[in-house]
């Protein structure tokens, strides 16, 4: 938590979240001439500083939606706007932690985390932010290691640090904690919430884990099978830190699992 504070209190960096408007977005892929619809008229309006979790069956189109938000792909129809400005290309105010860590194997851990600052040409004056981000994910001792020397979970943490160091307005997370052991996972969830509360960035989190969604998010959006539609948009009005045993959350969880097609006895 100390490290989170260090990263959050960088002077000269306004840490407000941005609003995100996803409006009537539809998207399809072309697979050998056949059209594969992936998103149908998805609309989500995210307030500045909100923490939204996206839940849905595997292959329904969650990662596709995140790529559109990041500006890596253009939607077939509909529009995406960050603070009323149409998203047409990637921008470091929207940083993505991908489902695969995709660290650059030729860079050390430190250099991987420094990637964003280097790309924006501000690394020389901001080196301490890299150190703070590495502290935050507990990998300071591995700053000179190469990615092939890391475990899967460690690599995922480096990817998280690489995103956080950029001080994004919208943080886009594609199952970033999926590969972590349950202990580290809980720690990282707490760090994430604390960081988000301090800095106030808007967060979009894709997860398979309904419990994780409920512990972390203000709002849980549940998608249908592919092509994804918004099936439910649930507010989670509980103060932080939340407890996993909270009966209110347990109730919501049952409801969400029901929406995902799982038997209510779960």
């Amino acid at each position: 938590m100390v490290a989170a504070a260090a990263l959050a209190e960088v002077p000269g960096h306004s840490a407000a979240g941005a609003a995100l408007d996803i409006e009537q977005v539809s998207h399809a892929f072309d697979i050998d001439g056949a059209e594969l619809p992936v998103l149908t008229e998805v609309s989500i309006a995210v307030e500045p500083g909100e923490f939204v979790a996206l839940l849905g069956p595997s292959g329904c189109g969650k990662s596709t939606l995140l790529r559109l938000v990041a500006g890596l792909d253009k939607p077939q129809s509909g529009s995406l706007r960050e603070d009323e400005i149409r998203i047409t290309r990637p921008h470091p105010s929207r940083v993505v932690v991908f489902q695969d860590p995709t660290l650059f194997p030729w860079r050390t851990v430190w250099d991987n985390v420094a990637l964003g600052l280097e790309a924006q040409g501000i690394l020389t004056s901001q080196r301490h932010r890299v150190d703070a981000a590495l502290d935050l994910v507990g990998l300071s001792d591995f700053r000179t290691a190469y990615p092939h020397q890391l475990s899967g979970g460690m690599a995922q943490r480096v990817a998280l640090a690489r995103a956080l160091v950029n001080d994004p307005k919208i943080l886009i997370l594609d199952e970033p904690l999926g590969k972590l052991d349950s202990l580290t996972r809980i720690t990282m969830q707490a760090e994430l919430v604390s960081l988000w509360q301090r800095k106030g960035f808007t967060t979009l989190l894709v997860t398979h884990d309904a419990e994780e969604a409920l512990v972390l998010a203000n709002r849980v959006v549940v998608f249908s099978e592919r092509p994804a539609r918004v099936k439910a948009d649930i507010r989670v009005d509980r103060p932080y830190p939340r407890h996993r045993g909270d009966p209110y959350l347990a109730d919501l969880r049952r409801q969400i699992l029901g929406l995902l097609g799982l038997d209510a006895t779960w």
Binding site: L72, F104, G116, Q120
Partner: protein, 340 residues
Amino acid sequence: MSTYSLSDGRASGAPRLSRAPLLAHWFLESGPGILASAAWMIFGLSCLWWEDVGDWSRTHSLGIAAFVIAAVALFGTVSADYLGSAGRALRQRAPWLIALGAFLTLWEVATAKFAWLPLPFFPPPQSIIEVYTDDLPKLLDSVFASVRLQLGGYLIGAAAGFLTGVSIGWSRAVGYWVHPVLRFIGPLPATAWLPIAFFTFPSSWSASTFLIALATGFPVTVLTWSGVASVSTAYYDVARTLGAKPSFLVLKVAIPAALPHVFVGLFMGLGASFAVLVVAEMIGVKAGLGWYLQWAQGWAAYANMYAALIVMSLLCSGAITLLFAIRDRLLVWQKGTVKW
């Protein structure tokens, strides 16, 4: 340069219980070194024992040198424990020293002493030593000429190939124009250009530089290109979301990711350019080791040819070793790379 050890497994750590195993252990460790010393002693003896069948001036010196090497090997083996890494290195190479001593003895006896092998074509070791001592200036001149020509041509070819490869891999427009040319001209052996090149270039030296660059450039271009083309788009996605501009994508993503391929191209180019170098020197350039070989053949100076061949192979092997060293430095992040 790495050396494989034959006895790594039992080199140390044997429990010392009684006298007999101790002796056996000592012999296992030091035996090869002592045998190597013996082999070189025999080589020295073979030089001095019989009369030469021909007239060679370095037979005596060679014999003495062999005895010196034998003495050094013996001393090194006995006191290997006190010599640190040098002692270990000697122990590791002892089997090779045995083989080398045996080979030299056989060579000496088969040529200089009994002429089992027909003489002008198979010169004895001492006549090759004689070349190194008596014809050194000319040999050195040839080495410098070859190195200069090779280095110039190779560096130009590698740089041009690298830039072309990156451009084709990166830009569709460049690829559209350069790719057909590359396909048409690239596979042609560079030596096929030789007659034309020697006519059209102002000097045979510039012509040879061009040919060496051509031989180097083709594999470097193709492999750099394929390296850049095969970079996973996920890397570009990551860099773009972090605010990377196109120049960053080329310099800090595409090129480092393609570097392992580039080095494969550099190795292939090096091999191809050696061949062009030697042919060019034999045919057009009046300097260099290729020319020296040609010249020696004209005089039926077979010892000079062998001497030049040995130097040439040392140079080529040295160049490859150097390239491996550079690669290992630049690609430390790769695991499981081949050791040369």
